[in-house]
Amino acid sequence: MPSVVALPEVATVKRREFRSTLPALLFLALFFVVPVISLLLRSVLEPQLGLQNYVELLGSSTYLKVFFNTFMVSAVVTIVSLTIGFPVAWTLAIMPSRWAAIVFAILLLSMWTNLLARTYAWMVLLQRTGLINKMLMGLGVIDKPLALVNNLTGVTIGMTYIMLPFIILPLYGTIRKIDPAILQAAALCGANRWQALTRVLLPLTVPGMAAGALMVFVMSLGYFVTPALLGGTSNMMLAELIAQFVQSLVNWGMGGAAALVLLVVTLTLYAVQLRFVGDESEGGR
């Protein structure tokens, strides 16, 4: 221990602080940046230099169907989650906090429960002899069991279940920040409930909805486990296609090309979102 206290020069401290990010930087460069970039490079290098993999990927109806499935399921999951999530987030924002705490506990429990455990539950619940079909038949809604699993219906139900908390939580934050006085003002100015909802409350929640919806949409696009288990083999989504190219077909060129498509769409949508959130925070100041 030095007996004389000498505070190091400020500039040296700052340079040293930069040095402390180097281990993580090296680690990510080696095990994240290099592997991802070399995978993407293989899409134009294998089997020979050129764009043949992209031509095949975007030219075949089999693969286009996979893209279509992926975008459709993600869009439906996003819209359904938003439709259910908005009223729930609204209620959570204004209901007595003791009840809200219970709903929050349920939300967190479902979010934190192992993904495979949740997917397994839906595989059992949705099967032909499962509880959902039994209940619907018991209620007389249907005569014979519906095919709810091994198709895109199953994937959509399972994914909506997983994505709901991701839309409710940010929307809750947005609605909490709205000043109730604004709605009182709307009422004083003669707006009825419907007008107050459509012209005041909904427009004010648009930033939160857009942020939540984009996040859910992007997460859904790249989802692997739930589509693979609930979707069956004939209704593939993009992430499964990438895995199949690499694992079963050992076609790294096509795998890299499909990965690049997913990556570009994902990063573009995130850039849109960042811009959106950025604008919102600037507007707030």
Binding site: L7, E17, F18, S20, T21, P23, A24, L28, F31, F32, P35, S38, L39, I84, P87, V88, W90, T91, L92, I94, M95, P96, V103, A105, L108, L109, S110, W112, T113, N114, L115, L116, A117, R118, T119, Y120, A121, V124, Q127, T129, G130, L131, Y161, L164, I175, P180, A187, A196, L197, L201, V218, F224, V225, L229, I242, Q247, L262, L263, T266, L267
Partner: protein, 266 residues
């Protein structure tokens, strides 16, 4: 009006109804699985014809389940330690440093969070095939560390940003060495950030399945890979028993997390 619960009128009941149904929807699979794991039906009939502990005894009798759980635990524990240490060192640099590209660097550190996991899984699989790390403990730890590190950096930098550095400087002025001041003054003050970093890192690794599917070998499997492989064959109730134990672990960790946060507030 619309943001005042008491003055909503009939709308209040509509909203409460939707919220109640959604809460039930979110809770249903979790309760369902727990109930099924004690049900005696091999075909997962609900309500079960009788109750049994058979699936749990099957689970514990099969050494493959136990060994995969042990593998998962070891990987998650190593990942947690490395992720917290690396997260700490990096956060000091990111929060305290004033160098060029600091924001870009921060964004790079958080990218693994937003990248589709399957892309990372396939990329690392290809890379590890070349350097011979596939199916090894090291390969598992490295790949899970890539996924866990962003959470660790995020939790610890947030805590560090709220900590007033002049307290650490005061300790140095009072005769502590810079390292001593960091360990005895700063670390205790940001312990809640370190704690959440540890929990998130552990859960990230423990629950991770996509990367794990690509990293595993017949002799080295984590628990999620074992569940995955079993589910691809059939829907045995043994998986319900395993899932119920995983849910129990989640509840315990959530309670622990809530307790620590409560303890920090008071």
């Amino acid at each position: 009006m619309l943001l005042n619960f008491e003055r909503l009128g009939w709308l209040k009941y509509v909203l409460l109804g939707i919220t109640l149904l959604t809460a039930l929807f979110l809770l249903l699979p979790i309760i369902f699985i727990a109930a099924l794991s004690f049900g005696s039906s091999q075909w997962l009939i609900f309500p079960p014809p009788g109750w049994t502990l058979k699936w749990y005894s099957d689970l514990f009798a099969d050494p493959r389940w136990l060994s995969s759980a042990w593998t998962s635990f070891r990987i998650a524990a190593i990942v947690t330690v490395l992720s917290v240490l690396l997260g700490l060192v990096t956060s000091f640099g990111l929060v305290r440093g004033r160098f060029l590209f600091r924001k870009t660097l921060r964004a790079l550190f958080l990218t693994p969070m937003i990248l589709p996991v399957v892309v990372l899984a396939v990329a690392l699989y290809a890379f590890f095939l070349k350097i011979g790390l596939n199916g090894t403990m090291t390969g598992f730890v490295i790949s899970h560390l890539v996924l866990a590190l962003p959470f660790s950096i995020l939790s610890i930098s947030n805590a560090l940003e709220r900590f007033d550095k002049s307290i650490e400087d005061a300790a140095v002025l009072c005769g502590a060495s810079p390292l001593e001041a960091k360990i005895r003054v700063t670390l205790p003050a940001i312990s809640h950030g370190i704690f959440s970093a540890a929990i998130f890192s552990f859960l990230t690794s423990w629950d991770e399945v996509v990367v794990a599917i690509f990293m595993s070998s017949p002799t080295l499997r984590t628990l999620p890979v074992k569940v995955w492989a079993t589910l691809r064959q059939d829907l045995t109730p043994v998986v319900a028993a395993a899932s119920t134990l995983l849910i129990l672990l989640t509840v315990i960790l959530m309670a622990l997390f809530a307790l620590v946060r409560k303890g920090l507030k008071s």
